[in-house]
């Protein structure tokens, strides 16, 4: 109990007041000619009340002495004198003191019980709130932050949690604790001069992290350890739950990937089979009739076989690139290429597919070198051109142009065909994103084209966009940086 001057003054006033009152009542009793023993009882009562109010044995002693003297002085014969050698004097004093002692002991015990009880309540309430809070939190970092907050609130000292090996090792002191499992255990006193405590966070006998408590304001109290360990186990459970959740999530993703892969294989084999069947059939026909077939028919058949083979080649090229991209192993070897050559090469390769489409190419101003992986960019152009050919009416115009601007060169493939449907816009560059309506025409490369284009262009450090143009068709354009940058893997 804090003994301030104000408190002492107040207790003195209370004691004095109560003694005065009881003395007055004693006078009253005497004037009413009641038996004098009643006065003793009144005095005992007043001593009890004084001890209860001041919660201190000291004042009880003071009151006992006062009552004994007062009784002797005022109420025993001869009145108004002190007679000290009367044995009953000592008896009453003794009884007063015993009464005061008993009451003060009981009262102080009761007080401390109440205090303990209130503290327990407070802690339990905090624990309850903390565990409730964990129910709503996901994400590792959030759980860690919440854990830190909850320990800080519980102990009233700033705390930090280092979770996981990497984090724990980053702080040298925490690393020591992490490695050895050595921590200031709950029974050890913190060595003087050390301001921080390190507590290992343990899950199933494995150290998963370290808790650092800033003890500069005072060490963790004995009764707080239990609560601290409870909170830590809550934290550990929450983290474990989170880890399991994430593992499950990963599982799910992998399963999804497997499924997609299987779908892909299925549609690819379907796409491969069609041109191969045509090649096999055409060549077999030729073999049978090589002697008596006319030149025109032969030429036409051979042309078909050739274009199918070229088509297959493009497709396999796309597949290979896609596989490389998915594994993250797309290597581009940049070297300066003449832009016109690249464009020309791409155009010649799609020439056979043109049919009735009219192709135009805007010449670039001047010859200049652009660092790129030639084969890949040719692939991109081929994909864009093939798309334009296949997704538009047979007689549409297709235009290719190249422009140069500050630091970049822009190439674009435009047509005046039907344009891109609204619902496709957001999914243009995704895998398998070809328009659903034309699924029957399996000569689409299973919709890989645009996603591969995007991957290639991004790997070059450029950008690609697609949209509808003013002529009522679609325009796909991409830009490549002209400056040399580090090659992207």
């Amino acid at each position: 109990m804090k003994h301030t001057h104000g408190l002492i003054a107040m207790h003195a006033a209370e004691t004095f007041g109560i003694l005065l009152l009881s003395t007055l009542v004693a006078f009253l009793i005497r004037s009413l000619n009641l038996r004098v023993e009643n006065i003793l009882i009144i005095y005992v009562l007043s001593i009890l009340v004084i001890v209860i109010e001041t919660k201190s044995y000291g004042w009880g002693v003071v009151a006992s002495l006062f009552c004994t003297f007062a009784f002797n002085y005022f109420f025993t014969e001869p009145f108004r004198t002190f007679v000290i050698n009367d044995p009953s004097y000592f008896v009453s004093l003794g009884i007063f003191l015993i009464a005061a002692f008993i009451v003060s002991t009981l009262t102080s015990r009761l007080q401390s019980q109440i205090a303990i009880s209130a503290r327990n309540e407070e802690m339990t309430d905090k624990l309850y709130k903390v565990s409730n809070g964990y129910l709503n939190i996901l994400e590792r970092d959030e759980i860690i932050a919440y854990g830190e907050r909850s320990v800080t609130t519980l102990l009233g000292k700033p705390c930090r949690i280092f979770y996981g090996e990497a984090s724990a090792m980053a702080d040298p002191e925490a690393a020591a604790c992490y490695r050895n499992g050595l921590a200031s255990l709950r029974d050890e006193r913190l060595p003087p001069g050390l301001k921080k405590r390190f507590v290992p966070i343990v899950n199933k006998n494995v150290i998963t992290g370290v808790l650092r408590i800033d003890c500069s304001a005072g060490d963790v109290a004995k009764d707080e350890w239990l609560y601290l360990e409870t909170i830590l186990s809550q934290f550990v459970l929450a983290m474990e739950r989170e880890e399991l959740r994430q593992a499950e999530e990963l599982h799910r993703i992998n399963m999804e990937k497997e499924r997609l892969k299987n779908n892909l294989l299925r549609s690819i084999s379907h796409d491969l089979r069609t041109p191969l069947t045509a090649i096999a059939g055409g060549s077999e026909f030729l073999l049978e009739r090589v002697d008596n077939i006319d030149g025109e028919t032969m030429k036409s058949l051979l042309t078909d076989i050739h274009s199918d083979a070229v088509w297959l080649g493009t497709m396999v090229e796309n597949l290979l690139n896609m596989a490389r991209i998915q594994e993250g192993k797309l290597l581009i070897k940049k070297q300066g290429e003449v832009l016109d050559d690249i464009i020309g090469e791409a155009l010649s390769r799609v020439a056979k597919n043109l049919g009735e489409h009219r192709l135009s190419c805007a010449p670039s101003d001047g010859i200049f070198l652009v660092p790129m992986d030639g084969q890949l960019i040719i692939q991109v152009l081929i994909n864009l051109l093939n798309n334009a050919i296949e997704h538009t009416r047979p007689d549409c115009r297709i235009a290719v142009r190249a422009d140069r601007r500050q630091g970049y060169v822009d190439l674009s493939v435009s047509d005046d065909g039907g344009g891109i449907e609204a619902e496709m816009m957001d999914h243009l560059f995704e895998s398998f994103g070809s328009s659903g309506k034309k699924a029957s025409e399996s000569r689409k490369g299973a919709g890989l084209g645009l996603s591969i284009c995007k991957a290639i262009i991004l790997a070059h450090g450029g950008s690609i966009v697609g949209g509808n143009n003013a002529e009522g068709g679609a325009t796909f354009s991409f830009s490549l940086p002209i400056e040399e940058e580090e090659s992207h893997g």
Partner: protein, 495 residues
Amino acid sequence: MNFQTSRTRAEGYQLVAGYLGIAAMLIGCVILLPLLFLIAYPEETPYAVDFIAPGAASVTIGYLLYFFIRGKTRARLRGHQDSVAIISAWILAILVSSLPFMLTGRYGFAQAVFEATSGFTATGLSIVDVEKCPRIFLAFRSIMLFCGGVGFVLVMTSILSDRGGMRLYTAGEHGDRRGPPLLKSAKTILALYAGYAVSGTLLYLVFGMGWFDALNHSMAAVATGGFSTRAGGIGFYDSFPIEIVTMVLMALGSTSYLVHLLLVKGKFGAWMRHGETKFSLVLVALTTPLIGVLLAGGIASSLPEAFRTALFQVVSALTTTGLRTTRDFASWPSSSISILIVLTLIGGGAGSMAGGIKQTRVVIVLKSIVWDLRDKFNHKRIIGDDTIHHFGLKDAVTDRDKFQAGLFVIVYLAIFALGTLAYSLYGYSLRDSAFEFAAALGSVGFSAGISGPSAPAGALWIGIAGMFLGRFEIYVVFMGFARIVKVAADALRGR
């Protein structure tokens, strides 16, 4: 979700009982205070018993009741439970304080209750013959006045600050029911008024009053209660300086506590502009000459003397004190009595120790009439600015304020009429009945002669009812009683 806490909450009527316990302890201490005067007058020791018994009993019982709320968290008092608490506390004070009187054997139950009520409502009507009364009892009466007055101000400004359209709080505390913490207010209020009382005592001593009379009169004047230690009242001294000191003390006592706070802070301008200040000055200025003129040639021999008498009585009536310089009122002309009745009804400042309708309300009503007429004469599109100067601020008067003020005036006057009727049923004249009841209702110590040692018990009870109702501005009493009756009825029905 809250767990069961070990610190249980005290609420509802347990809480009321606990508070009553505290009140009982305080009342007990108040009753024991007069014993201090035995130091000066040891020959009155035989009377000590009459005070010790009720005082000690009250403290003890209060202490036991306090156990109801000891160590528990206290909830707020809901609804009108605070009215119940206040009314019960005052009734308790009155009943316990009547015991010393009854224990002497000289006073009956009705008389003792009357005196105690008069004390704790700071009225001053008395059934005691002061020349024959022991000093210790005279001191007790003055102490009752002072404690009743201080307690009342505390209650009005802390607990009931937003009732009855009075708006007894400063702008900062708007809307907060509790206002400043109770204990802190209590200390300030006590210090303030004790300070006034001490200064008053000193001034009286300077002007020739004995110390005992000085102390008692000072306490009475500040508390706006009319208990005097002399049969002739202040008139006994026939000293103009003493009368002036008394008038100053009475004016202080009937000034709103919140205005005191302004004065203490030095904001004299605000005080001058305060609606009630202006109103009182106007009233005093108007009525004093009027009564003076009416008295001259009658009970007063010369014009200056008439004015002096008029001034003192006017101030005493308006501040609802009741100290007087005149022998009695029977010889006064009815015209002057009527004016005094009007002043008594108007009363003092809101949130002060005074009674009556309270000047703020009267000001609002009068101004409302003016505003109404002004609106009638003005073009329909012109909107008037209905404000009054209140505690240093220009406060807008809402329709609700006007309504409540008006309603209160009506209720007050209705009860005044009923009380007058009741008195007249005992055979007293209309003039006497009206004067007496106006005094009782307004807690003024002016008696027409009805209240005295020889009054019948019934008349005394009418007076008691008037004093009690008037002090608590009627509503609180009704609310409190209504609640008590409801609780009792529920209990009887076994709910």
